[in-house]
Amino acid sequence: VAQQHSISTQYPVVDHEFDAVVVGAGGAGLRAAFGLSEAGFNTACVTKLFPTRSHTVAAQYCLVVKLGGINAALGNMEEDDWRWHFYDTVKGSDWLGDQDAIHYMTEQAPAAVVELENFGMPFSRTDDGKIYQRAFGGQSLKYGKGGQAHRCCCVADRTGHSLLHTLYGRSLRYDTSYFVEYFALDLLMENGECKGVIALCMEDGSIHRFRAQNTVIATGGYGRTYFSCTSAHTSTGDGNAMVTRAGLPCQDLEFVQFHPTGIYGAGCLITEGCRGEGGILINSEGERFMERYAPNAKDLASRDVVSRSMTIEIREGRGVGPEKDHVYLQLHHLPPQQLATRLPGISETAMIFAGVDVTKEPIPVLPTVHYNMGGVPTNYKGQVITYTEGADKVVPGLYACGEAACASVHGANRLGANSLLDLVVFGRACALTIAEEHKPGEKLSPLQPSAGEASVANLDKLRFANGSMRTSEIRLNMQKTMQTHAAVFRTGSVLKEGCDKMDDIYQTMDDLKTFDRGIVWNTDLVETLELQNLMLNAVQTINSAEQRKESRGAHAREDFKVLFFDESKVRHSSGNQGPRVWRKTCEEQNPSCLKSSVKYPQSVMIWGAMFCSSLVFLQTLGP
């Protein structure tokens, strides 16, 4: 059948034209969507979940920001400067963060918080009515020399939840068109330019092509590639996968943030306070194994040491449970009264999520994924960049923000409470950049009528897939492999073995079997599409981890314990040799043949201790 005017004769195809399309309606997506609507652009927000159900809602913590000029009100808040926040973030990212992006974020942070507060977000207050800030997330004053800084603002217990509701409520003032429960399949790319998105309407199985001059990706992270993660079932890295299929690279995917004590099965994290109050980690032999790994600190060792120790115990066969894949956190040797007063709510948590009575049985725990530092590479304005011919190049028409993007403000390790700030600042940045460079109502560049054909063909193939392995089986294989090989404990041999196993699992995708042949609300099909996306993320993550032969931030390798210097690529700006060098990984993946190539762009010198001249240095760094 000739397909000149429609890409599919089986699926109804609807074409839409907008000035801008935002994929994803979490914190960053909503902020970008209504920022664009506010600027007068005809915006569509395509999301597979209802906005207030996105994973941002799970964020109970707070925003880090410096609110200047607060004069030691109650002795809690003190004089603060965004440059100190900048220093903390750059240092926290283990010198891998993009200084332009971090500069932008920390400088805009106070304005962003005030703006949110003006939108109606009910931050907690001091007695004078100023926003209350507490100490959190490794923040310091005076470039690390002035003691603890209090920068963290919050909304009672539910900052992310409140943020999402505030942004959603605000967005209803403008006429953003929400396409809820539309699963974005692919980007419509032509000649290296992004011209829109093609999506599947889950409700009735129709295909929708959203043509727009500007596309913003805000699809979130990909925690679900691992067996144990705190993310929702919907965190499947759709944005990263769409970008990969478009032939663009992803950045820093090997940096995945783990927490040592996540409840087995549920994925909730148990606070370090449990160990602080005397809780101990035990293996299958009932031994307090942390004594061997950290004789002095024992269970109070730093998070990465604890995670690695737990993983080594599991690898050596001393794990507990039927599959011997986790360890126990024991609290029942502590007096129940003490538990109830010091850690109120823990018995409730343990009962709901682990099904154990914390005063009688230990809690099953294992290292759990919490955040993905990597994603779609962007510059500080939110424009997606690719790396060709030895230089960064902006991809026209494509932007990214939030956890899906890698600006990168978190670098190799994310500081606590910087993530929500990242969402709002870069969501807004995308909207501002688009408003600066384009006008509402601009004529769209022509698109080939056959754009998106491949996506529909893929959809069709999956819908009628008749192999032998179910989606859930393949997904579990992938998750277990990633948890065993690409988790906290990384060495050359383990990673190589993992890469080979992941290759094999990727090949089994050809042998998939789906059961639901329907078109209306076909969750089997959507889960399979999500699995495809997860696989691309997983393969790139483990390959990048294998290629990065150093330990930096969240990527810690046993065989390469130090940071890697590359002196030949050093760019001297004043003749001094600084102490650290950073390089970002850019990974490109060819989905059909699974060949991935990892490139390391030009290194840039970071002056570790010379922040007195930081402003001058920043200005010389171009976008």
Partner: protein, 112 residues
């Protein structure tokens, strides 16, 4: 205006009356306090300017537990929502979430 209000009040009483009949027939012995609240608000002359709520809470279903059981949350609310030690208004309930270095709530770590 008074006539309208009178009709509205009568309508409300009728409504609550009907609902209380429903709850009785469902086998519950107690009429939940929420209904009494709704009906007393409707019948009191105190609320003049603001439109009183027609139903203070959503109607109690047959299998719902009575309202009083819900206030057994482990984390107690501070008086007036002000934390007595840090004087924070509208802050998180219970002990300071960041006391162990991560953000803790009910034994769960939310951020670190």
């Amino acid at each position: 205006m008074a006539l309208l209000r009178g009709c509205a009040t009568a309508g409300r009483l009728l409504l609550t009356g009907r609902l209380s009949v429903l709850t009785v027939s469902a086998g519950q012995n107690k009429i939940p306090a929420s209904f009494l609240v709704g009906s007393t608000r409707a019948s009191s002359k105190a609320v003049k300017d603001a439109e009183p709520l027609r139903k203070a809470k959503t109607p109690q279903g047959r299998f719902d537990k009575p309202e009083e059981e819900k206030s057994s949350d482990v984390l107690q609310k501070f008086p007036d929502n002000v934390n007595p030690i840090t004087k924070e208004r509208g802050g998180p309930r219970g002990p300071e979430p960041t006391r162990y270095g991560d953000w803790e709530r009910k034994g769960r770590c939310v951020d670190f």
